[in-house]
Amino acid sequence: MSENIIQTTALNYSFDQRKILKDLTLEVPKGSIYGFLGPNGAGKTTTIRLLLGLLKVKEAQIHLFGKDIRRNALEIYSRTGSLIEKPSLYGHLNGNENLELCRRLCGAPYSRIQEVLRIVEMSTHAHTKIRKYSLGMKQRLGLALALIQNPELLILDEPTNGLDPSGIIEMRKLLLKLNQDFGKTIFLSSHILSEIELLVTHIGIIDLGELKFQGSLHELQNLSQPKLRISTNNSEKASKLLKQKEINISKQTGQFVEIGIKDEKQIASLNEYLVANNLHIYGLQMNNQKLENIFLNLTNTIDA
């Protein structure tokens, strides 16, 4: 079993008597890019603030690098970089000075400033005042701040927020480079699956403070059985015959029957079975659910 860099155990959090998180158990494997997905207001930012110790918990429910955040915060901070919502930058200082300020606080070597500027491709803008930066440049510099102490873990809250499509693609490339070339474990939140599905290796889906799914991207894809739509001359008879075979009917109309199937071999055997029972088969249509729909179904954003 791979080592979990982030581990929460039945994490609960309430604010103003409102339950924000309910029994949240996160497992983020080392070396992964973990996408933490959920609609707005699902509890993603609260979870991230709890992971970083910015919000307090009473019990030992949050472990980073196997250590309780309440008792080992400084050690955990020396191995973690973060970017929460919009980057925290001082507008009256330039990029280099913002990095220098954080460098002084974490005690990283001075050469690290040039290194992180190179990684985020911001070296040419290092001496420009932040107030003259575009949103994309601010996000990049925010990421550079998160990288200043060369952390093993990056916790990023909606790093693509507000970026245009090309900015999103650039940020994706940058995060892949950090994971693949620099070996960083990345935990990032988003409310748009399509923005991160090309990036992540693992996914956690949260809605109304509850974790609806957690696993690899492959496991999420397997979560939904492909559907087979069988168009026939007698859908009622077809339905009865399929039920005799203990197959669940997902949908039935006068023209077709829809069922969930396990594999392609099953399509052939069912076809033979129905034809043998004197039914005319007009069409067999496979329907793979899109990942986006799975996410929307899990988060109750649309009707299943």
């Binding site: 603030r49 970083l52 400084l74 020396s78 973690t80 973060s82 001082y90 009256h92 954080c102």
Partner: protein
């Protein structure tokens, strides 16, 4: 890494934070404004303002008395707001407090940085007062600045006023640290400031933190004994209040959730 190293790093980060900021400019502009104002008044109407006391004493007293009563509380309110708004506007605590320097050390460094700015400003004021007095001696010889130098006791009175102003400094520091909205700490500070001016003759005014600076400075003119003592009532009250507020502030910071 030991606490002192953390502290040194936090202090140097604070120093960088105020670079190019209005907080840093205010440190120079405020004493220049106060001195410049009294320089102009004495240059144009000095003969009406200097009584029987030596010109230097009269010049220094009238300017500094106004500073401690009227200008300094406003300066402290503004300085704290300008320093803390840098963090509030950048929403920087969510990143600073996830760096491996303890939160309480960062806040303590921030306090020491404000004290440093306040001290620099007070030193600039003193220096510019002495230079402007010399300038008046040269430009308006008839005012009599050459007849006697500034009484040494005024330096002690000035230092007492400085120490007695720490109460306001800590009071405003705590409010502006915790309140993101700059209007609230400004409103609280202005209310306290106005109440000092209104209640100046009230018998309990010695217990009003915003009056400590002026009362400590004026000790000298009550009795000679009080004038020679450093730790008089307003100074002690101010330093006690400062210690209390800082301890309370650090306890609150420990429990602070960064939302």
């Amino acid at each position: 890494m030991n606490g002192l190293q953390h502290f040194g790093r936090a202090l140097s980060a604070e120093q960088l934070k105020i670079k190019h900021s209005w907080a840093w400019r205010l440190v120079f502009l405020a004493p220049l404004f106060a001195c410049g104002m009294y320089f102009c008044i004495f240059y144009f109407k000095g003969e009406h303002l200097i009584g029987e006391s030596p010109a230097w004493n009269s010049y220094f007293f009238q300017s500094t008395d106004t500073v401690y009563l009227v200008l300094l509380p406003l300066f402290i309110i503004l300085l704290n707001i300008l320093v803390h708004q840098l963090d509030h506007n950048a929403d920087s605590r969510k990143i600073l407090y996830t760096l491996p320097t303890p939160k309480w050390i960062q806040v303590s460094a921030q306090w020491l940085n404000v004290v440093k700015l306040f001290t620099i400003s007070m030193l600039i004021y003193l220096m510019v007062m002495l230079i402007s007095g010399k300038l008046l001696e040269w430009l308006r010889p008839e005012l009599g600045f050459d007849q006697a130098s500034l009484d040494q006791k005024y330096y002690l009175a000035y230092f007492k006023g400085y120490l007695a102003s720490f109460g306001i400094l800590a009071f405003q520091f705590i409010f502006t640290y915790f309140l993101k909205n700059m209007v609230l700490p400004m409103g609280i500070g202005m209310a306290a400031y106005v109440s000092t001016l209104v209640l100046l003759r009230w018998k309990y005014i010695p217990f009003h933190p915003f009056a400590y600076g002026n009362l400590a400075f004026r000790d000298y003119f009550k009795t000679a004994e009080l004038g020679n003592q450093l730790f008089t009532q307003p100074v002690l009250l101010s330093l006690s209040l400062t210690a209390f507020l800082l301890i309370l502030g650090l306890l609150l910071v420990r429990r602070l959730d960064v939302k």
